[in-house]
């Protein structure tokens, strides 16, 4: 219960203790974290991606248009992002230009799910690291000493918000469905735009729901994230990792392709424009054929080798300019550097995202970035609602090219997302996906550099190895 502070004297001083957390729950997919703890802090870490389905092989030989449906099934929390990335790759390959209403409808579909995903992540995946749920399954069992430091009153408020957030995220899925057909897995995003021309009634229904959601974001979600910075202030000082960011940009704001979030890379303290030729995926420690290491997505091959001795993960290790980079709300907000919300400026005493400085690269910093981004996207949703024209075409029909290739760069709620398609004889000849979790939760690369999440674990305090609460807190801060 409340008040369980970390123990002052670390257990097993001077000696290394290995801890495995498997399964690492409240994420999407299968992940194991293994850390070595010495004198109460993590000194080495490995992240194991434990599942492979083979989407890239399954796509080969199919009708290119089907890729938008198939790739959505990579992730049931963020299918709209995969649909968007796939549609962008196909728009590129089919050489089709969207109508204005098509661009806006896609933003309204992806935007509502962005908000849904961030709210689901904070309340239903991450919050139980900071507050206690009711004393019934599935909220029990939990760690015997789970380092929950909030008062009973705050805990009750948080549990109330957890339940309310279930309703809010459901409303957000209703908004997605109004234009996208259903959720999870929308029918509405296709090459050439979207399938449902918004009616006045549909836009009104979307807007009515959005009002409820926006109120929740501004009055509940943002404030409670800043509230946690009180009792958990130390978590703004740990979990930084490399401080390198990749962000492909998302939400086209005009036909010229300018995006709400900027496209850019931040490496070792400097900003760079994106050059996709500098993305390479390494597999020395991944369960894939060594002969396929170091390839860019357009040359990419996925040849599983589940018995490879040295390997420990089904996740490839993508590097930008041969350096590990993190992706996600923090990376996007760092690259874009927008003004923070009013409450954010007040609580942090700074104006823009980068003014937060090093504290942004931390366990709690990632939650702050995500909450601030939620408010920012909510602001843009209002703009798109005002721009959408009822009854105006959202779809442009285009034939399947005999042979072509296309690149789709966008952002999933959890980070940078790339789809690449190569079409030959009107069929998919190659398809490669580099998703956010692949950027964050990857293993060591051929050069011996740890993945971003592994690196961010180094130095994280684990004072009580029986209850290694901060390991899960760090991993979940990335929303893997």
């Amino acid at each position: 219960m409340a008040g369980c502070k970390p123990q002052a004297a670390p257990v097993g001083a001077g000696k290394k203790i290995k801890i495995a957390i498997d399964p690492l729950t409240r994420i999407e997919g299968h992940l194991k974290a293994e850390v070595e703890v010495k004198d109460g802090v993590v000194v080495d870490a490995r992240i194991f991606g434990g599942m492979f389905r083979g989407f890239e092989q399954i796509l080969i030989g199919r009708d290119p248009r089907d890729a938008i449906q198939i790739t959505q099934r990579i992730c049931g929390v963020c299918p709209t992002a995969h649909a968007t990335a796939s549609a962008l790759a196909l728009d590129d390959a089919f050489n089709v230009t969207l109508t204005e209403n098509g661009r806006i409808a896609r933003n309204l579909i992806l935007g509502a799910n962005f908000l849904q995903s961030h709210i689901l992540h904070f309340y239903h995946l991450a919050a139980l690291d900071y507050v206690n749920g009711p004393d019934v399954a599935p909220f029990v069992p939990r760690y015997a000493k789970n380092d929950v430091r909030v008062s009973k009153d705050i805990n009750d408020i948080a549990v109330g918000q957890y339940l309310e957030a279930l309703e809010i995220r459901k409303i957000l899925h209703e908004m997605v469905a109004l234009l996208g057909g259903k959720m999870p897995h929308v029918q509405g995003i296709v090459v050439g735009g979207t399938t449902e021309i918004p009616t006045r009634e549909a836009l009104n229904a979307y807007a009515d729901r959005f009002k409820i959601v926006k109120k929740f974001i501004m009055e509940k979600y943002l404030p409670i994230v800043y509230l946690l910075a009180g009792p958990y202030g130390d978590l703004l000082k740990t979990g930084g990792g490399y401080h390198n960011c990749v962000a492909w940009g998302v939400f086209p704001m005009d036909s010229a392709g300018n995006t709400l979030h900027k496209r850019g890379v931040f490496t070792e303290g400097k900003d760079y424009p994106v050059n996709t030729a500098l993305i390479k995926e390494y597999v020395k420690y991944s369960y894939f054929d060594d002969a396929t290491t170091g390839l860019t997505p357009s040359q990419g091959k996925t040849v599983p080798a589940p018995d490879k001795e040295r390997a420990y993960s089904f996740i490839k290790a993508p590097r930008y300019n041969n350096k590990p980079h993190e992706a996600g709300p923090l990376a996007r907000m760092w690259v874009t550097n927008p003004e923070l919300s009013k409450i954010g400026q007040e609580k942090l005493g700074v104006k823009n995202m980068r003014d937060i400085g090093d504290a942004a690269f931390s366990i709690l910093g990632r939650h702050v970035a995500r909450a601030e981004e939620t408010a920012m996207v909510a602001g843009a949703v209002e703009q798109w609602l005002a721009e959408a024209v009822p009854g105006k075409e959202t779809y442009v029909s285009a034939p399947i090219p005999d042979s072509s290739e296309g690149l789709g760069l966008t952002e999933a709620p959890r980070g940078a997302l790339l789809h690449y398609i190569n079409i030959k004889d009107k069929k998919i000849a190659n398809y490669q996906v580099t998703s956010a979790t692949i950027w964050n939760a990857n293993p060591m690369d051929d050069m011996g550099q740890r993945g971003p999440m592994e690196q961010a674990l180094i130095g994280v305090p684990v004072p009580d190895t029986e209850n290694p609460v901060n390991v899960g807190r760090l991993v979940r801060s990335f929303d893997p």
Binding site: G76, L166, E174, L178, G180
Partner: protein, 318 residues
């Protein structure tokens, strides 16, 4: 048994609502859509009794978590009510507080304590190639467990199994042509290992939340629902989409949609697989009744055993 009683007492204490009162509210829901068709008021006490002794263990294999997310969209009962008042969800990788050893120990403790009684929900396919290495689900007693190991163990102990989603029911997308992982649905997996536990398939990519909640409720109150040849409850998967589609009159009149953004006309020429698909989406609709695939675009036949290969290319007529 102490554990058994604790589940109910604790939940009632926490929520301040007796299960009986709660069940009355959900069974009182007006007919039509919703899952009220599953309930009969005289069965309320039967359900209350069943809930005491039938915890639910929800495990995930090669899944995208979309089925779990769909369950979160349940309207009546709401997901908050389902979690706190309807079922005792003792294991669910995406939402439970526990992780690592705490979670795995609880999983096997419940499976032992309620041997032959608990309901096992499987989400995602089971990859049988490469000794199951394509899906590691956790560590127990310092041993890595694959999805194959876990379903073999829990499948035998469960009172019944719900294979939720296209992947768990029939293999789904991971089992589509080109797969290298040996992705398998629960029924086929059980045949492979001679496991006799009854299985209810709740296919769909994802399934509608009502199909999941309704089937669990049916299992707990009345036992196995009537199943079709593909192992699906007839009450949800008994009717053809095309025959019941609001666009069927347009079809009869020869009015066909010409492009994907046509609001009017039958979508068969655009690739709609409604004629080969059996589910009640046409009346239930999705996301609190907001919309459904055919009004938005086309049906891709996601509840059928052959999905996705049998219904692709999705945008070409069958």
């Amino acid at each position: 048994m102490k554990d058994k009683l604790m589940v109910l007492d604790e939940q009632q204490k926490q929520t301040g609502v007796s299960r009986r009162a709660f069940l009355k509210t959900i069974t009182g829901t007006a007919a039509g859509i919703g899952i009220s068709q599953v309930f009969n008021p005289v069965l309320i006490s039967a359900m209350e009794k069943a809930l005491e002794t039938h915890p639910v263990l929800w495990i995930q294999g090669q899944s995208c978590t979309g089925c779990s997310v769909s369950l979160l969209n349940s309207v009546d009962p709401s997901i908050a009510d389902i979690l706190l008042k309807v079922i005792s969800l003792q294991f669910h990788p995406t939402i439970m507080a526990a992780e690592g050893g705490v979670a795995m120990e609880n999983l096997f403790k419940i499976a032992e304590a309620y041997n032959g009684k608990f309901s096992l929900v499987v989400e995602g396919a089971i990859p049988v190639a490469a000794d199951g290495k394509f899906c590691i689900v956790g560590e127990f007693n310092h041993q890595e467990m694959t999805m194959v190991d876990l379903v073999k163990d829990l499948g035998k102990k469960a009172g019944s199994v719900l294979a939720v989603g296209a992947c768990a029911a029939y293999g789904g997308i991971p089992a589509a042509e080109g797969n290298v992982t040996g992705a398998t649905g629960v029924m086929d997996f059980f045949k492979l290992y001679g496991i006799q536990t009854p299985v209810v398939n709740i296919p769909g990519c994802p399934p509608h939340p009502d199909w999941i909640v309704g089937s669990i409720a049916h299992l707990l109150t009345k036992g196995l629902p009537e199943l079709d040849d593909d192992g699906r409850p007839v009450i949800f998967y008994g009717n053809n989409i095309h025959d019941n589609c609001p666009h069927v009159e347009e079809y009869d009149a020869g009015e066909m949609a010409m492009t994907l953004s046509d609001a009017k006309g039958c979508r068969m020429d655009l690739g709609c697989k409604g004629p080969d698909t059996y589910a009640d989406c046409y009346k239930r609709k999705w996301n609190s009744g907001m919309n459904w695939c055919v009004d938005n675009a086309v049906c891709i036949g996601c509840v059928e055993p052959g999905f996705p290969d049998a219904s692709s290319p999705f945008y070409e007529p069958a």
